[in-house]
Amino acid sequence: MTVEGLSRIQFAVVALFHFLFVPLTLGLSVITAYMETRYVRSGDETFLRMAKFWGRLFIVNFAIGVVTGITLEFQFGMNWAQYSKYVGNIFGAPLAIEATVAFFLESTFIGLWIFSWNRVSKRAHAVIIWFVAFASTLSAVWILIANGWMQRPVGYALQGDKAVLSSFGALIGNKMAWIEVFHTLMASYVLASFFVMGISAFHLLRKHEVYLFTRSFKIGAVLALASSVLVIVGGDLSGVAVAKDQPTKLAAFESQWNTEQHATFYLLTLPDTKKETNYFQAIGIPGGTSFLSYHNFNSTVRGLKSFPANDRPPVMVTFLSFRLMVLLGFLFVLLSILAVVYSQRGTLDKRRWFLRIMPFAIFLPYLASELGWIVTEIGRQPWIVYGLLRTADASSRAISAGDVLASLVGFVVIYSLLAAADLFLLTKYARKVPA
């Protein structure tokens, strides 16, 4: 394999692995902060014990998130040197700003939060975790501004062999980036609230700390319902933005081969990439794809065949990942509605089947989040910066395929060990009845 091919696999491994930890950090920091605030306001010790229980899981998860995050910053220079040279003028800025305004705040205040339960006032301690939550969110904003620029490059000018920044305002005002921020944050809240509900359900089944875990479950359920509906709103906004700015990605989402007005959305279909058509199409909604793309049943959707073959993304992976992600998104709404209804009526203990499913449902938002990134990044191919720079022209020239193979093996081994250690600790602390 080539340096480029191996580097792409390596980036997929390290980015997808890192993103196993990011959404829980984003979501659980807010949930823990909310619980601690309730404790400060009400003086109810249950909320304090809740904050400590969920906070401990947050910390274990956070540690791996931090160390695997450094990898990504190193990756751009190590494996994508041509990319870094080409876009460093623009792409480097949000990365450096992310470190300066968000990472320092996040990492300094998390250290403070862990060790200052008895050193600062109750109120100050709750404020500290809000700072951590705020800083995590801020870092998500900056990294997605960077990613948003790769999806929809704005505010730049071409100068010789590189792109240079011409408008910082356009860079940070990129609509694509802010839709990504919204979609990602909501997805993270879905993930964290399913995490809280799943572990609470595990304990409720065993009658551990029923009051504490019922309260936790309720908080999770309300957040899950709100965020799972909003994540679909965010998905819809993304679809429209993709249709406008990344037509090849949209066509791959829907396996739309021919340009059509009033394009039909098929609930069941499967692309045949060799023959450039679909094996079958069933249960059509006339104008559905047109509506999803442009919010207009009669609009024209460009098909894949209207683009040169070397400008199209891998259709099968993009299509299947997209479909599965969307399906999971609707499943989250359904499960959240049940969770809200049962927990608000106080009938959770009678719905043991539901409590039995929820611990397993923890894994589904993880899957959906990973699929989201697969859709976003593979759907953007063959471009590393959409319409501007091809992935094939972006990898480092100073390294050999052997170098990358060695590092890829290293990452797989080390990350597997990290995953094992993390899973061991998370399971241990999740099963432990709070003190």
Binding site: G77, F91, G92, A99, I114, S396, L425
Partner: protein, 342 residues
């Protein structure tokens, strides 16, 4: 022009501050297993860096990010030309960070020993590799018309290895002084003595390094051209001597700050010697990556300057506040019974 020079200085400063801060985390990590007599002492040392190591490491991420934003071509070259050392640094920092956070999350002896071992090896390897990388940057890389023309083996030259040893020795002394300052009783005294013993090793390596600079690098050209800058290496030497002086007098806090200053001044001796290069070419000066030919455009540098001017002072203020909050020496009793400790 002005902004490029400003960012060249900031580039050096960010790395120097990173080495100064993470230097004591790494240094105490290297010797921790040998310094501590029992599990409680191991926990005390871990706890001394626990609340701050992560914030310290962000200086590295910022140094990397600033290099990316201000000098994209240097960032791309530094990380891809030095692929293997950078990879080893990355793996070591991952191991070190996880070891700190996970070591006391389970009571089993095997689990603790595993992470103690990981922490020691990773701290040592990261320290050495940072030295190896910067030694080779000071020395220059084989950059030709087609980019990097050297191999990983070329990096293992005597000067690179010597700089690796220099970093290990600097960080060990720094880390031992940190432990001496942050703990009390026997452990503090033991760390204090180790710092004194390793200081001699550091002195020998530092002298060799200063001599080797003249033969293996062109760092001294700038000092010969502009003798006023000799004040920086001179101060570095003075600070190194001051470490021993303070140690002899029993002033551990002053010795620690002298050691911190030594690290910053040693880094800046290299940075001043490099100017205007960030990475000199050994093949032909025309291929050197400089503050002028590898920088971002004026507009990006202006944006970055504004961001740095606003946020870096804020970061420094709250990091100092956190260090102040934890300024008390950690006692054996509080770690033995406290649940808030590593």
């Amino acid at each position: 022009m002005g902004l490029q020079i400003l960012w060249f200085i900031l580039w050096g400063l960010l790395w120097a501050v990173y080495f100064m801060l993470d230097g004591f985390d790494l240094g105490s990590g290297i010797l921790r297993n040998f310094l501590a007599k029992d599990d409680t002492e191991r926990r005390i040392i871990l706890h001394s860096i626990g609340p701050v190591w992560d914030g310290n490491e962000v200086w590295l991420i910022t140094a990397g990010g600033a290099t990316f934003a201000a000098f994209p071509a240097t960032y791309a070259s530094m990380f891809s030309f030095l692929y293997i050392p950078m990879l080893i640094i990355l793996f070591s920092l991952i191991g070190r960070g996880v070891a700190v956070e996970f070591r006391n999350k389970d009571e089993r002896q095997g689990w603790k020993s595993l992470w103690d071992w990981v922490m020691m090896v990773c701290s040592l390897v990261a320290s050495f590799m940072f030295g190896l990388v910067f030694g080779n940057v000071f020395r220059g890389l084989s950059i030709g018309a087609n980019g990097y023309e050297g191999t990983f083996g070329d990096l293992l030259n005597y000067y690179g290895l010597l700089t690796g040893l220099l970093f290990v020795a600097m960080f060990i002394v720094h880390g031992m002084l940190w432990v001496a300052v942050k703990t009390d009783g026997e452990l503090s005294e033991r760390a204090y003595k180790r710092a004194g013993a390793f200081w001699y090793a550091l002195l020998v390596i530092a002298v060799l390094f200063l001599v080797a600079n003249a033969f293996a690098t062109k760092l001294y050209d700038n000092f010969l051209g502009h003798p006023v800058w000799i004040i920086v290496p001179a101060l570095a030497v003075l600070c190194l001597l001051a470490v021993k002086l303070f140690l002899a007098r029993g002033n551990d806090v002053e010795a620690f700050f002298a050691s911190a200053a030594t690290i910053v001044l040693v880094t800046f001796t290299g940075v001043i010697g490099l100017y205007p290069n960030l990475i000199p070419s050994r093949t032909d000066a025309a291929f050197s990556l400089t503050a002028f030919n590898s920088s971002s455009g004026h507009y990006t540098l202006t944006v970055m300057t504004i961001v740095a001017a606003i946020f870096v002072p804020i970061v420094i203020v709250y990091q100092i506040l956190v260090y102040r909050l934890y300024r008390k020496r950690i006692t054996r009793e509080e770690v033995a019974e406290g649940s808030e400790f590593y």
